[in-house]
């Protein structure tokens, strides 16, 4: 197949994935839901932060995904890139069709691991890096859970001792409205940098396309996804939950911190996992009954790795026949 056509196909699939990721980015839902920002303001903030995050923070994580999952002696070929991109896209579409919040990060890395083991066996993977990532993936939701749990408990104690009447609450929550906006901007910025790897990380591994160009394309695609599709997700989630600025801050604080540290450390992380873990932490701390379906979400998280791995193996054969 002609090289230019291959590059164009890579870019198109990467753009589709990035638009999908941007479209599912719910980071700004609490600020819209609590009327801190209007939808127009949300989109302006989200677009600027998506592009800035992709350009300024995207490179490190993209290089980890593209170059450090497979063993160092293995060359990332065009067939592998195409296989990983297509299998990630299929799993994303399937999960979205059933309304299941999956991690694109896990889907991408699951696909790379599947094709790596299939073609080169156990030695085809960089197990040191994978174990390091697994440690972060296990740790990040735990931190999200406990971070939110204790932040909520502290805030509750403060409210019990200091606040008395609607007017006190109004003043207290309005202060948090500004703090939550800062926390959400940090999350959106680092999340854009981190999510870049899901769309272009494996393409970076080939080394044929300039990484700066790829990051610009991804940043713009994430932003387009946010503008075209994301507004619906933000609106629905924002209106569905009654998150007060202070409780929204309790859930965003660990997510913002871990996402920023992880992205600077070049670790591909799942924003959705941390957010769900934080919401569970919030429910436990406030003794609110959890909605049904949590176990289904957790099951899908664990299924993402084997399913995307198997998908990549299945897709590998038809893709190879084109090259």
């Amino acid at each position: 197949m002609d090289f230019t056509i291959i590059i164009i196909i890579f870019l198109i699939i990467s753009i589709v994935i990035a638009v999908g990721i941007g479209g599912n980015d719910e980071t700004f839902a609490p600020v819209y839901g609590s009327k801190i920002l209007t939808m127009k303001q949300v989109l302006i903030f989200a677009v600027i932060l998506a592009i800035a995050g992709a350009l300024l923070l995207g490179e490190g994580v993209a290089k980890t995904v593209g170059g450090s999952i497979l063993a160092s002696n293995i060359e990332v070929t065009q067939v592998i890139v195409m296989t990983v991109l297509i299998s990630t896209a299929i799993w994303l579409i399937l999960a979205s069709a059933f309304g299941l919040p999956i991690s694109t990060t896990h889907a991408t890395i699951g696909s790379i691991m599947g094709i790596g083991i299939f073609l080169w066996g156990i030695t085809g993977l960089n197990w040191g890096m994978i174990l390091y990532l697994v440690m972060w993936w296990l740790l990040s939701p735990v931190i999200g859970f406990f971070g939110t749990y204790f932040a909520y408990k502290l805030m509750y104690k403060y409210k019990e001792n200091r606040l008395n009447g609607f007017q006190d609450y109004e003043g207290y929550e309005k202060k948090f409205a500004i703090v939550i906006l800062i926390a959400i901007c940090i999350t959106a910025f680092s999340r854009a940098g981190n999510d870049c790897s899901n769309a272009v990380g494996i393409v970076v591994g080939v080394g044929e396309i300039d990484i700066g160009f790829l990051l610009i394309i991804t940043g713009l695609s994430l932003a387009s996804g946010l503008v075209i599709l994301g507004r619906v997700v933000i609106k629905n989630l924002g209106e569905m939950t009654e998150l007060r600025p202070s409780t929204a801050f309790a859930t965003q604080l660990p997510t913002a911190a871990i996402m920023l540290i992880g992205t600077i450390q070049k670790i591909p992380l799942s924003g959705s996992h941390m957010l769900v873990a934080s919401l569970v932490g919030l429910a436990k701390a406030s003794r609110t009954p959890m909605k049904k379906g949590l176990w289904k979400i957790i099951l899908v998280w664990f299924l993402t790795f084997p399913v995307s791995a198997i998908l990549s193996i299945i897709i590998y054969f038809p893709v190879r026949s084109f090259f």
Partner: protein, 217 residues
């Protein structure tokens, strides 16, 4: 600056609204006193005053809601709770108006039985006390949950007293063998008056729920 002005507006209109409800409740109290004591010649004037008060309250309520929803940056949960609070309190005067309207269409020679006048007066006083305390409670919701919380129990206590009184009155009138229409109409008046007190207690229950929802001193 604009937000601060909006906040001041809401507080001011809220006080204005509470005063209008208080005045309306006092009007019904006086109207009922005249009715119970058979001072019928004054009743018509009092009735008109209650209607005017109710309309005035509706106008202030609309103004309050308009200012409440004008602040686009306001917190939706607080807007919602304040909205529910004010619309529920407004129904107190709607229900009070209903009592006066009912009395207004009674047969011209209708009189309250002599032997239940004391109980009726007590019920009337309980009505005024309950509404007054409910209004104090809603004002305290803005600045002192602890103060409002205590008042809700007072209101509950008075509702129980009103409940006992209602059945005491019904027990007396149901023993009477003559004038079934008069018995039936008296029963209706007592029930309508008790409904207003009962509604005030329902609002105080709602306010207590809100206080529990918002942890505070």
């Amino acid at each position: 600056m604009k937000l601060k002005k909006n906040k001041e507006d809401i507080s001011q209109i809220n006080i204005e609204f509470q005063e209008a409800i208080r005045t309306g409740a006092e009007k019904l109290f006086n109207y009922m006193s005249d009715f119970i004591e058979n001072r019928l010649e004054k009743v018509d004037d009092r009735f008109q005053e209650i209607i005017i008060c109710e309309k005035n309250c509706d106008r202030i309520k609309e103004k309050y809601i308009e200012v409440l929803f004008k602040d686009k940056r306001a917190l939706p949960f607080l807007i919602e709770d304040r909205y529910k609070m004010i619309t529920n309190v407004d129904k107190i005067l709607n229900k009070s108006e209903l009592v006066s309207r009912y009395i207004q269409v009674l047969p011209s020679k209708f009189e309250i039985y002599e032997d239940i006048r004391d109980e009726m007066n007590q019920l009337n006083k309980l009505y005024l006390e309950t509404v007054n305390q409910l209004l104090n409670c809603t004002l305290l919701m803005e600045t002192s949950f602890s103060g409002a919380f205590e008042i809700t129990f007072e209101i509950e206590k008075w509702k129980r007293q009103a409940y006992d009184l209602k059945f005491k009155i019904l027990d007396i009138i149901f023993q009477k063998k003559d004038e079934p229409l008069r018995i039936s109409l008296t029963w209706k008046i007592v029930t309508l008056m008790f409904d207003v007190i009962s509604w005030a207690e329902e609002i105080s229950d709602f306010l207590r729920g809100l206080i529990i929802k918002y942890p505070g001193k």
